[in-house]
Symmetry: D2
Subunit: 314 residues, 4 copies
């Protein structure tokens, strides 16, 4: 039951590309990948598929954003298909720079992904009121087009500017600063990351009756002193009248209270998919665990019950 | 975990005496004890003490009455002191007869225990309006006094009348008919009675905060589909601010759902005392057990969790 | 909604007699009744019947005992029949004295009610090992018999000894000291006692499904920050499969949170019987009431909802 | 308390533009707007701002999508700023067509919004394997560019194709068919839509402690027999450690059970924002309402409590 230490870091990781995205920047924040160790994927489903097929050892994708909430392709992509489990997470503050070719004077045509354009509309109106605004396939592609001389400026991650040899002409372009995106590394099931005392466990449950089931499910966590750190609730795509809850909770599946709660979910829900136990990386302190749900309390209770059943205690 | 079949019926049982009480009648309803097999005790605490000391193999005492509720000396006597567990139960309809010496004409002086006098006041007023009513130490003692010629009539169990050679002059004297008393046989912990599919488990919990604790405790039973058949709640005698809940639930400690609920109580409560799992004898059908809490559902969940923790499943 | 102050104290009160009982002593503890103001009743049902018929203004009866739990004739007597509500409560420590005629030497025959004999068995064995022990119809009747010269000693309340001119030869005879009995004064519904800030409300609920209903009922109290101070749960006498919960909670029906909880019980239960709101007399401090369930929070919410429904706020 | 009938339909409605979007198509599905009655807005926040300022009578925006979940700009835009309430909803199946200029032969360059490109990637790979794929600012803008002769094909709503005089060369391009988007019309608070018996109520709650608060909040709905039809839970943007729950429930604020639940939320939560009661338009039947929470049950309980407080009933 005690989880073994994790094995060596996977050597090939597919990330949500193209090169220069926030996802790649978040991946780098965990340490520089070896030469050829990180591979851009065209989409979240593509990255997950590469991890499932074994083409890569892991996929690295965004899971939730402090402004937009859950990233649906990731939540949905993990909920269906062959099992993948989260083994690491990373948090990255998402902000934009204006990348230009060295020596650029006036920025007449500026490009970015429509999402990024929406989040920097105020800055553009204030600082580039006369520029033509052009949509691009991704923030990194905007940088590529600037480098190629087709446009004057790209609203993109700092990494993308560096990647394409652009100069950073302005920083902190987001109209609402402070947005943080959470990224996760997922792998085929194997050795679990060892418990660290500040872990997170992700699980997705399918249930038929939403209101009552959610109440029951939350009760199972609350009665074991387990705090939720994310809750995503919505209809399933394929099965009419079946709801899906994706939750993150504090603790590791190797902790008695978390394991015991998962047992209850397994009995309660139509289907439960375990999606990993891994060290939390948000730097927040984990809520203190009441003594009554420490591992020792579970062990004591089990010893006591064993005695009762053998008739040696009353 | 499967409980072994119970051993031979204990050969010496102390019952709440004296001879001829309802308790003795209930004990006989379970089968005729062997010669010298049943021993009257002066009180419930005395009967329990005899069982604890090993002077007898078991004690047989009233636990609850459909009119009066829990029998406090039994509930309290089981909650404190060396452990005793219930191994059998019996139900007896409690009603009274008028016992007289054969050939008695007018009944001028009638006696009984004050409780019995209170429960037959209407009958006495209607049928013996002019009789002097005299208190006795027990209903059986009233019968003894009649047999000794000191009184004319005893309001007593039919068994007491027979025991003292009295004639039954009238039956069904209780003003409110239909009262049923539940009796239990308790023994020092040993082999548990085997599960029969229609069992009852008795447990007493001590907690410090009453309202919240009871809610938590009931939630643990409800979330596992376990019905309560008795609930007794009151302050403890000795510990200020500590409350005691004595409950009977459907099921056997060998059933996964009952064992799992007891584990939760052990973690939740200041103290839990297991007081036996035994076949129910009230002839009522046990509430159907939902599939999600069958033993198989617990086994499946445990196998699943074991796989998760070993990293072989997602 | 604010309750009016209570009217004058009732002038005639029936108490559980005979004269000299603990009930009469508890009644005196609330102030000396006027001449002819207190009337002994033969039983709890008799006292309640006198209050219902208007023969007296109120009945004064025991409701619960710290050792024995609820007093069934009172709980049952209030749950059925014409409504009566509690208007006052009193607590009395229950202990016994040995009453003898002045000048008595050896105590050869000692009497009491069988209950009192059971609670003083240890003292009698230690101090009167050779005395003949005789049952009496009540502790007060034992005192009467001693005064009449038929016996040597009575185990009775101090009040009974005084009432019959006996001398107190020994005090604190109870084997387990500290037992406290709670008594209540009940009247036909009329003006409620005014809220004092430290009140208690008594209510009895009938429900068909015990386990779930109790959970729902406790949830209604807990979600409004209301603590229970007594809970009595058992099958009803007359209606098969219907359970009765009798509870005391902190607070007054005029308090918004208590009134709101009663509304929920009225919707939830097959039947709810309100049995009074009255000042608590146990000298314990009432649990602090969270701000979110103060009267002001209810008023603010009502004003807000009213605005929503009229379409003037969002 | 009974809501008055709604006034005349607003004459000017801002919708999430540009012209030809799914939002405009959904708005048309509710009836043809009068000349100049519908005004495209550049973004969801812009549409909401126009409604708040009074520049238009209402805004019409997407709220949730069966594939992507909640539409964050709408959920967030309604949760902050001056109150707006939902007065109507509409559901639209979201699918794409290929729009071309009449007479077009080979489609060499095809454009759409990157989201739409992602949802039709499979179709494009199968049917236009050699086409260059170009991002556009919106699906409607892609149609405009095709009409202007700058591109050969637009992946867009059918309405956009019609609007720009394009021919529909292919339909049902979505790789996952059946996605449905729910749109809502929001207005400044005023007369509420009258209850129809099949209504929905939207409310957003801010709370400080997520796990416990959500449990309490769901309990308030469940105990009143109210079903949730949407639940969105996430951290608030501006207030650290404060969580926001946006829920849709069955029923109308004029219904006693819904009003009573809102009262409880108002007491429980740091802040509650009512966001409208309106007829549901999904054609699903509303869950049957248990008798115990019908308006009549609330009325009966209120009458009963009123009697208790006046002292006229027990």
């Amino acid at each position: 039951m005690p989880a073994q230490p994790t094995g060596p870091t996977p050597t090939r990781i597919a990330f949500l590309g193209p090169e220069g995205t926030f996802t790649e920047a978040a991946l780098h924040s965990l340490g520089t990948p070896s030469e050829g160790g990180s591979v851009p994927a065209a989409s979240v489903p593509a990255a997950l598929a590469m991890a499932r097929s074994g083409e890569v050892d892991a996929a690295f994708v965004p899971l939730e954003n402090s402004v937009e909430g859950s990233v649906s392709p990731t939540v949905d992509g993990l909920a269906a298909g062959a099992p993948l489990v989260i083994t690491r997470e990373a948090f990255l503050e998402v902000d934009f720079v204006l990348g230009v070719r060295p020596g650029t004077g006036a920025v007449r045509r500026v490009a970015s992904h429509p999402h990024a354009l929406a989040q920097t509309r105020g800055w553009v109106a204030a600082h580039l009121p006369d520029a033509e605004v052009v949509p691009a396939a991704s923030t990194a592609d905007a940088a590529r087009l600037v480098a190629a001389g087709e446009l004057d400026g790209a609203i993109c991650p700092e990494l993308a500017a560096h990647r394409y040899g652009l100069e950073v002409a302005a920083t902190r372009l987001a109209d609402t600063p402070g947005a943080v995106t959470r990224f996760v590394q997922v792998e085929r099931p194997g050795q679990l990351p060892a418990p660290t005392g500040a872990d997170r466990t992700t699980v997705t449950c399918l249930v038929a009756d939403r209101t009552g089931a959610l109440l029951d499910l939350l009760t199972e966590f609350a009665s074991r002193g387990i705090s939720l750190t994310r809750l995503d609730s919505r209809p399933t795509r394929e099965r009419l009248g079946v709801y899906s809850f994706s939750v993150d909770v504090e603790g590791h599946v190797a902790d008695a209270r978390v394991g015991d709660a998962l047992l209850a979910l397994h009995r309660l829900c139509d289907e439960v998919r375990f999606q990993g136990s891994y060290p939390r990386a948000d730097g927040r302190s984990t809520a203190p665990v009441p003594h009554r749900v420490h591992d020792a309390a579970f062990r004591d209770a089990a010893t006591w019950l064993d005695g009762l059943r053998r008739g040696t205690a009353g």
